[in-house]
Point group: D3
Chain length 226, copies 6
Amino acid sequence: MGTKERVVIKLSGSLFGDNAADELKKYARMLLEISSETQPVVVAGGGNVARHYINIARGFGSDEASLDIMGIEVSRLNARLLIAALGDNAYPAVPSDLEQVSQAADGGKIVVTGGLHPGQSTNATAALIAEKVKAKKFLNATDVDGIYDSDPNKNKGAKLFKDITVKKCFELLGSENSAAGTYDLMDIVALKVIERSKIPTVVLKSDPSTIKNAIANKATGTRIIV
Amino acid sequence: MGTKERVVIKLSGSLFGDNAADELKKYARMLLEISSETQPVVVAGGGNVARHYINIARGFGSDEASLDIMGIEVSRLNARLLIAALGDNAYPAVPSDLEQVSQAADGGKIVVTGGLHPGQSTNATAALIAEKVKAKKFLNATDVDGIYDSDPNKNKGAKLFKDITVKKCFELLGSENSAAGTYDLMDIVALKVIERSKIPTVVLKSDPSTIKNAIANKATGTRIIV
Amino acid sequence: MGTKERVVIKLSGSLFGDNAADELKKYARMLLEISSETQPVVVAGGGNVARHYINIARGFGSDEASLDIMGIEVSRLNARLLIAALGDNAYPAVPSDLEQVSQAADGGKIVVTGGLHPGQSTNATAALIAEKVKAKKFLNATDVDGIYDSDPNKNKGAKLFKDITVKKCFELLGSENSAAGTYDLMDIVALKVIERSKIPTVVLKSDPSTIKNAIANKATGTRIIV
Amino acid sequence: MGTKERVVIKLSGSLFGDNAADELKKYARMLLEISSETQPVVVAGGGNVARHYINIARGFGSDEASLDIMGIEVSRLNARLLIAALGDNAYPAVPSDLEQVSQAADGGKIVVTGGLHPGQSTNATAALIAEKVKAKKFLNATDVDGIYDSDPNKNKGAKLFKDITVKKCFELLGSENSAAGTYDLMDIVALKVIERSKIPTVVLKSDPSTIKNAIANKATGTRIIV
Amino acid sequence: MGTKERVVIKLSGSLFGDNAADELKKYARMLLEISSETQPVVVAGGGNVARHYINIARGFGSDEASLDIMGIEVSRLNARLLIAALGDNAYPAVPSDLEQVSQAADGGKIVVTGGLHPGQSTNATAALIAEKVKAKKFLNATDVDGIYDSDPNKNKGAKLFKDITVKKCFELLGSENSAAGTYDLMDIVALKVIERSKIPTVVLKSDPSTIKNAIANKATGTRIIV
Amino acid sequence: MGTKERVVIKLSGSLFGDNAADELKKYARMLLEISSETQPVVVAGGGNVARHYINIARGFGSDEASLDIMGIEVSRLNARLLIAALGDNAYPAVPSDLEQVSQAADGGKIVVTGGLHPGQSTNATAALIAEKVKAKKFLNATDVDGIYDSDPNKNKGAKLFKDITVKKCFELLGSENSAAGTYDLMDIVALKVIERSKIPTVVLKSDPSTIKNAIANKATGTRIIV
C-alpha cells in the first residue's frame, strides 16, 4: 500500500465550470488509468465560481486574506466534484493541511485536494504537496501549452520553451508587468519550492492525453530544469 | 452583551446569485438597522451554485448524503459573502455546529451560518438554531409571499394564509405530490421543531422591508400558529 | 480491504441497559459471524440513560436542541460499549460525522457509531449512513416485530406487514396521533432518505438470530419496498 | 469581565444520580449566589452512570485507559446537566482541555467541565484546573465531611482533621490498603498539584450551604495546609 | 471591546534565545504600554531552537515542508513564552490559523501567534495577519536597522533607506544572490501582500523603544511606501 | 496489518539534545530492526529544550499547568525528529491523544508520540499508552541502569535491583525526599497504571543494544514484577 511512485497534478479551476460534467469524466478515466503505475495526488484550482465570490466580497471591502479563504473553499468544492467522479478510487475526503494530505496518500488511493493556505496559490500549494509526499513528478496543467518567452495571447511570435531553468523562470517573472501581481506571486513561491526540493516539474496544457504523455515521460509542454 | 432578543432569519439561496452584490448590500443595511433592537442569527441557503455542484455530482453517481454536504459547503460560502457585506458588525467566522452557533451568538454580533448537517434542509437547521439560541422569532424568507392553499405558480386562484396552524401545515404537505420529496421532507422537520419548541414563525417574501415589518410585528406573509 | 458489501444495522438503545453485559456479548458474536461475508456498520440508540439525562434537563427548561445533543452523547457511550465487546474486530473510535463514518468504514473493520446530528433520530442517521457508505441493506432492529397496521400494544388484532411500500408507511405515520411527535418526525426523515436512495430496508425485532436471518435474506420482520 | 476571583469546585458524581433534578436545582441556586463575588469553575464527577458503563466494559476485557475515557464522557454529560440547570449563567459548552477551560473562564460566566484526561481522576483534573485558572480556592466536595485519620465507615472513632499538611496527607494515603488503588492514585496527583502550586484547598461535605460557608472562609471540612 | 486600532509586530526569533528571560520582560512591558492606545498582534519567529531541529531533520533527509512545520511549532512555543510574560494581558492561547487570529483579536487583548503555514515565512504570515485584522501598521522588527541598498555586514558603506517603494524592494531582492533563497522567498510574498492591501509597513531594529517610536509615528528604520 | 505484538518504549528527552543527529540515527536503526518482530510505539521526552522554555516561563510567573503544556509541545517536536529519522517506516504525524495513538498504531507502522496531558509525566503517559494499545512490554529507557535502592549519584554503594515488586517501588518513592517532587509524582501514576493493567515493565539504560536485549527478553536493567 502506498508504494507506487507519486505524481502531483495541479488542475486548473477552469475544468470545474459549465462543462465539468463531461470534462471530469475524462479526467477521472485518465487518473484511473495512470493509477495502475503511479499514485496521483491532485490539486484542484478555484476557477469561475471562486472569482464570482471573490469579486463580490472584494466589492464589499473584504480583506484579501479572507478572499483567499473563499477561493480555497471553492477549490475544495471542486475537489469534491472530482472525488465524486472517481468514486471508490479516490480517498473520500478533502485533506485540509499538509499532514492530512500525507496521511491520506498513505492509504494508496487517488487523493484530491484544493488550496490549503491563504496567501498561497494552488500552484505553490501543489509544489509544497509534491515536497511533502515526496512526489517523483509535479505536473502543472494549465490553460496554455507551457511557458513562453512572452505572453502568447498578446504576442503572436511568442516562443514556447521545451526546457527552462528555474533561474530563467525567475527572470521572466521579474520582467512581467506588475498588474499581473497575483499571478507571479504564486509562481515565485512555487518556483522556490521546486528549486529547494529539486522536484521534476512540467508545465503543460491541461488535457488527459497530454497528462498521460507527461506521466510516460514523453516530451510535452515545458520541463523546468532544477 | 448578548442580552437583546434574538431572531433567526433563513435567507433563500437565490439572494446569493448573479445580483448578490446589490442584494446583499441591502440586506446588510437592513440587518444592521434591526440589530439595534434585536440580535439577528441568519442562515444562508445554497441556491444556484449549490445546484450546479449537486447536479454534476449526482450525474457521477454520488450518494445523496455527499450531495447534501456539497450543498452545505456552498451555503457556508454564501454565509461568508454576507459576513463580508456586514463587515465588523458580523461574527467573523461561519459556525459549523449548533454549539458553535450558540457560542458565536453569545458575543452579541450578527451571526451568519449556512447549513449544518446532511439530511437536514437549511429550513430545518434554521428552526433548530432558533431552538438552541432561544430566539423569540423565526422568519423564513422565501421566494413566495407565504404559504398558499395550493401552488400559486400552477393555480391562479391559490389563496395565501395570513395564519395557519402547524396541524394544517402538515395536512398541506401530506397532500403534495410525492415528486416534491426533498421540499416537504425539510419542511416537515422544520415544522416538528417549531411545534415542539413553540417558536413564533413567519413565512414571508424575502425582501428587506418585508423582513423589517415582520420584526416590528406588522402583519406580513403567513404566521404559523403554535 | 473494504471490499465486502456493507450493511447498516440500527440497534435500539434498550440493548444498552441493565442487561447490556449479556446482550452485547451475543450481539458481538453475531456481528463477528456476519462480518465474514459483509461489513457491518452499527448505529447505537440512546435508551434509558439518554431518557434519564433528557428528562432532567428538560425539567430545567433546556432547549430541545441541547436535549438532542445529550441523547447523541449517550448513544456514543453505548457505541463505545459495543466497541469494547467487539475488541480488535471493531474500529477503535466512534465517528462523529458522516465523513468520519466513511473513512472508518474504509478500513474494513466493524464500525460502531451513535447519533450524529441534533434534530435527527438515530433511525434517520442510520439511513443517511447507509446512503453514505453505499450499504446494500439497512436493518432497523427495534423492540417490536416490524411495522403493524396499528399499535400492537393497544390493538390485539394489529396486523404485521411482510412488505410495505414507502408510500404506505407515510400514510400510517400521517394517521398517528400527534402525541407521538418525536417518533414519527424521525421516521419520516428516515423514510425519505430510504426513498431517495432506494435502500433495501427491513424493520425487525432486535435479536441476534433474527438479524442473521435478515442478512441471509430470509423473510423476517417487515420489508420496505422502494 | 473575568476580574472576579475564581474558585474551583469539584462536585461528586453522586449528585447526578436519581435525585439530580432536585439536587442540581439547589446547587445551581448556590452557584448563582456565590457568583456575585467569585467566578465558580465546577468540575463534575462521573458517579453511578460512569460505573455502569465502566463495569460492563471491564467485563468485556476493555483496557483501563478506554474505561477512563468512558468515565470522562459520563462526567461531561453530568456537566451538561448542571449547565442546563444554570441556564444563561453558565458558559454554554463543556471545555475538553485545559486551554479551553481557560478561554471559557475568560468570558466571566460560570464554567462547568467534567474530566479531561484518561489516567487522571476528576480530583486531580480539578486541581490542575485550579492551577491553570489561578483559582484562589479549590473546594473538593465529597460524600464525607472531610479527611479523617481512619476510614469513618469502618472505624467509629475516626477523627476528622480541621487542618492537615500535605505531608500528612501523603502519609495517610501511604498507609491505606492497596485495594483502594484507584482512589489514592488520584489523590496523590491532586495533592502534588496542590503542593507545587500552593492552592488553598478544602475537602468538605457536598452540600450547598457548606460550600457557601467555605467560600465565605468559615471553618468547615478539612483545610489542607500548603 | 476590540475598537482600538491594531498593529501587527513581527518579532525576530533571536529574542527567544538565551537572553529570553530578560528580553521578553522588556518587550512585555513595552507591549503593555502601547496597548493603552493600540491593540498589538504579535508574530513570533523561530530562532535558534528552530534551526536546531530543522538542521538535524534535514540531515535525516526530511522534506522541506516538514521542516517548515517544525519551524512553525517552535515559533508557537516562542509565542507561548511571550504570552507567559504578558500574563492576563494576553489572549491565553496561540491561534493556529487566520480565522482564529481574527477571533482572538476580537476579544481586545494582546494576541501572540507564531507561524501559520508551511511554505510561508513568519514575515509573510505577519503581513497576512495584518491584512486579516485590518491593522493600521505592520512593524517588522529585525536584527538590522532597516533595509539597506546592500548587505551591511559585507559592505561598510551600505546605505539605509528612510523610505523605499515596494517596487524598489523587489529590485533589491531580485539582485540578491540565489544562495539567500529562503530569505527572499519570504520577503517577496510579504511584499506582495503589503502591496495588494496597502499596509503601512516599517522595517526596523528590534528594540522596545524603537518599536514605541514607530508606534508613535516617529521616524525610525525603513518605511515601505505603498 | 497491526498483528505484531506491540512494545511501548519511553525515550529520555536527553537523546534529543546536541548529539541528536548521531543518537537518533542509531535509535532509528534499532527500531527498524526490532520492528520485524514487534511494533514499537515510542514516547519521546522533553529534555533540555523543554527545560529552557519551562524555566523562563516559570520565572514569568506562569502557572504549572501551562508549563506542562510547554513541555508536551517540546516532546512532540522531539517526536517529529525521530519520525524524520525513521522516514517511511514511521507513522507520519504525532498523535495527540490516546485514541489517536490507537488509530495510528492500527496502521502497523512505528508510532512516535510525545506527552499527551498536562499533569502527567511522559512516563505515566507511556504507561497509559501501553494499556491502550495492549502492549506486551513497556520499556522505560532512562539515563541510569535501572532502579537502585538509593540514589547512585550520591551513594556509591547503591544497589541495582534485577527484579522489584510494584509495592517495593512505592516504598522507595515514599522515602524519597520531597524536593524531587515532580519526579516521583510521575512515577507513582506510571506505577499505578502498570499495576492495574499488569504491564510487564523494564526500567533500563537508554542504549540501542540494551533495548534490543530487553526486547529479546535478555536480562537487563530492572524488571518490575506485577
